[in-house]
Amino acid sequence: MPISNAPSLIPYNPNLNGNPASATGSAYPNGNPALGYNRPGVRNTDSAVPLHASGPVVHDYASDGPAPGNLALRWIYGSNVAAKNRDPRIQVIQYNEDSFILRQNVCTHWEAPFSYLLFGNERALLIDTGATASARHYPLRETVDAIMTRWGQARRRPNLPLTVALTSGEDIAQNQGLVQFADRPGTTLQPKPLEVMKRFHKLSAWPAGTGKIDLGGRVVEVVPTPGTHKDGISLYDPYTGFLFTGDFFYPGKIQISNDKDFVDSLERLIEFRDGHPVKWVMGGHIEMMFVPGKAYPRFATYKPYERLLQMDPALLDEGLTYARAVAGKSLMLIRPNFILLNDVSPDQRTTVWPESVPNIDPPRPF
C-alpha cells in the first residue's frame, strides 16, 4: 500500500496517537505523522532524517524550547549477586535522535556513571568516559563507535569528528574510559591538567566566563564549576536544555571538596541557568533512592529503588541554600533529592533528619 505524504485528514485521536499529558508535553509524542520533516518554523524535530538522503543531512538545531526526548524508563540496577549479573555492560538510551545517554553497568563498577553522547552537524561530543579503563569490561569506545557509525549512515556523515569532554579530569569515576579513545582517529580529547584544560576550553577568566564547543548548529557551553573537583566543569546543551553537571550536582551524596568554591560555582551556575532555558540538570551518578533523603551506600551493586537521574533546575537554588549552610562546617546534610557531605567521610551517617521531609523506609531487597 503506497504511503501518502499528504497531510492526513484524520483528526487527532489521543487514544491512538498518544496522551496529551505525556512526559514530553507533546500531543504527538512520536511525532505527528501528517507533517513533513523540518518544515519552516519547526519547533524541533521528531524525525530529522530523510528516508533516502542523497547527501549529508543538515539538521536545524534551533528550537524555541528544549527538544523533546524520551527518558521514561527504569535504569538497569545491578544484581544482588553481582557476579551473576548478565545485563549489558553499557545501557544506551536514545533520548532523541541526536542525544544519547550511556550508563555503565553497576556490576562492572559500583559508581555506575553516566556518559552523554551529543551529535551536531559537524561533530559529536562525548561527555564523561566512565569508571573502568578496560575495554573488555567496559567497551565504551566500541559502543560510541557503533552509535556514531549508525548515526553517520543515517545522516550521510561518516567519520564525524569526536570531542571527548570530562566534567572533571581528575575524577576516576569519570575519566577512566578516556584511554580507550587515545588512538582514535578524528578525536579530540579534553586534556586532564587544569591549566591545559582551561586553555582547551578558552576559559582564561577561570572560574568566571564560559567556553564553547561547536558541534555544528549545536553549540554546547562550558561553565566552570569547581567545588567537588578543582577542575570541575558543567556543560550546557541548548538543544535538549540539559545541564550536565557530573559530580558537582547530582541526585546523590555530593562530596564537597572545597566549600567556598562549591558555593561560588553554584551561584554562577544559577546565574547561568537564569539566562538559559534549562530543562533538567543531568548529573553523573544516581545514589539517592526513590524515597526522599535516602541514599545507597558506596560500593552497592544492587540498587532497585533508585531515584530518577534528571533533576529539576530549581533544585540548584535549594542546593545553594544548603551549601551555604554546610560551608565551613564538618557536616552531612540530608535533602530530599541530594545529600551534601562537607569535610566528612564519604560513608558518613547522621541521625539528623530534616524537618518536613517524610521519613520513609525504603524496601530492603535482602
Partner: protein, 334 residues
C-alpha cells in the same frame, strides 16, 4: 521433636559429661568399620593458610572465581571463604572434621542455593574427607552453627534445612545457647566433641551480644568471629567486649594457640583500611593473626576511654563508632 537432653547429646560438658553414651554408642556400633583418627597430639596439628585468598575483582560481573573458596588448612580442617563478588562481607568459615561430626562455623551472606551452593560445597568437602578417611558421609553428623548472630554469618543456613543427619542453629540468642548447652553465658566454657576432636566454646559478646569464641584443640586455632579480626572490630558494647578480650587473654595464657583467626579481612598488607562494602581487595592482609597481636590489641584497648576508631597496627578498634563510618576521606578535597 527431640527432648532437650537428647538435643545436647553431642556435647560433653566440662562440668558433667554425663549425657553422651546411649545414642552415640549405638551409632558407633552401626558405623561402617574404618580406622578412627587419633586427633590427640601434644602440639598443634600442622597446617597452612594460602598465600593469597580470592579477594574479589575490579569488575564484578566478570568475576569467574568460585562463589566459595575452599582451602584445606590440613587434612582434617577446611576453611571456606565467600567470594567478594557474591557478597562484599566475604566471611571466612572454618569446617572442622572429627570422627563422628563436622562443624561448620558460619554460612555467609547470601541465602539462595541457586546463588551460591554452600551446601553442595560443604557436601563435597565432607565427601572428599570421608573418601580419604574411609568413612561414610551419611554417617557424619553436620553441625551448622554461626559464630554470632549477624546475617552475614547465617544467611545460608536455610540451605541445610532438609539435609539429613544435620543440626542447625536457630536464629535467636536462646537457641544459640541451647545449641551449645550453655547455661552460664558468657563465662561458661563448653566442649564440643566432634569424635576425638574437641572444640572449646565460650561466650565473647561485645561486637554483638550473641557471639562465641571457638578453640580447636587439634589445630590450636582460636576462632574469634567478628569480635576480633583483621579489620574494623565494631565494638557495640565496650565493657562486655573488654571482658571478652580479658577472657581471650586468660585463655591464651593457659592454652597453646597457633593462630588467631577472625571472620573477615578489611585491611591491606600495608595496613590500609579497605572501606566498608568494597568488593575488591587486591592486596589484602592474611586472615590469621598471632597471639601477640591479640595481646597488643588488649594493651591498646586498656588505654581507650572514649568512643572512636583506634588503630593498633593490626586491627581497628571501632569503639561504639557507627557501623559504616570509616577513616576514609574524600580524596579530592582541596
Amino acid at each position: 521433636m527431640q527432648p532437650e537432653m537428647q538435643r545436647r547429646s553431642f556435647l560433653s560438658l566440662t562440668a558433667a559429661a554425663a549425657v553422651l553414651p546411649a545414642q552415640a554408642a549405638l551409632k558407633a556400633a552401626t558405623r561402617a568399620p574404618g580406622p578412627r583418627i587419633d586427633f590427640r597430639r601434644s602440639d598443634a596439628a600442622p597446617g597452612a593458610f594460602p598465600a593469597k585468598w580470592i579477594c574479589g575483582s575490579s569488575s564484578l560481573m566478570d568475576n569467574i572465581d568460585p562463589p566459595l573458596q575452599v582451602h584445606w588448612y590440613n587434612a582434617h580442617t577446611a576453611i571456606l571463604r565467600q567470594n567478594k563478588a557474591y557478597s562484599y562481607e566475604a566471611p571466612f568459615a572454618p569446617l572442622y572434621f572429627g570422627n563422628d561430626r563436622v562443624l561448620l562455623l558460619d554460612e555467609g551472606f547470601t541465602q539462595l542455593r541457586t546463588d551460591w551452593d554452600l551446601r553442595g560445597t560443604v557436601d563435597d568437602c565432607i565427601e572428599s574427607w570421608c573418601g580419604r578417611n574411609g568413612s561414610n558421609p551419611a554417617d557424619m553428623e553436620l553441625l551448622v552453627a554461626f559464630s554470632h548472630l549477624h546475617a552475614d554469618h547465617y544467611a545460608g543456613t536455610n540451605q541445610f534445612a532438609d539435609r539429613p543427619n544435620t543440626r542447625y542453629m536457630g536464629l535467636t540468642h536462646e537457641e544459640m545457647l541451647g545449641f551449645w548447652g550453655m547455661t552460664n553465658f558468657p563465662e561458661q566454657r563448653v566442649t564440643l566433641d566432634l569424635g576425638g576432636r574437641e572444640i572449646l566454646i565460650w561466650g565473647s559478646p561485645g561486637h554483638v551480644v550473641s557471639e562465641c569464641a571457638f578453640y580447636d584443640s587439634y589445630t590450636h586455632i582460636l576462632f574469634t568471629g567478628d569480635m576480633f579480626y583483621r579489620g574494623r572490630c565494631y565494638i557495640s558494647f565496650w565493657q562486655p567486649w573488654f571482658d571478652s578480650m580479658q577472657r581471650l587473654i586468660d585463655f591464651v595464657d593457659a592454652h597453646p594457640v597457633s593462630h588467631v583467626m577472625g571472620c573477615h579481612v578489611e585491611i591491606s598488607s600495608t595496613g590500609e583500611d579497605y572501606p566498608y562494602g568494597i568488593t575488591w581487595q587486591p592486596d589484602e592482609a592474611p586472615v590469621q593473626m598471632t597471639v601477640d597481636d591479640l595481646r597488643h590489641a588488649f594493651e591498646v584497648a586498656k588505654t581507650i576511654k572514649e568512643p572512636g576508631i583506634y588503630f593498633t597496627g593490626k586491627v581497628f578498634l571501632c569503639n561504639q563508632s557507627r557501623g559504616t563510618t570509616t577513616i576514609d576521606r574524600n580524596p579530592y578535597r582541596y
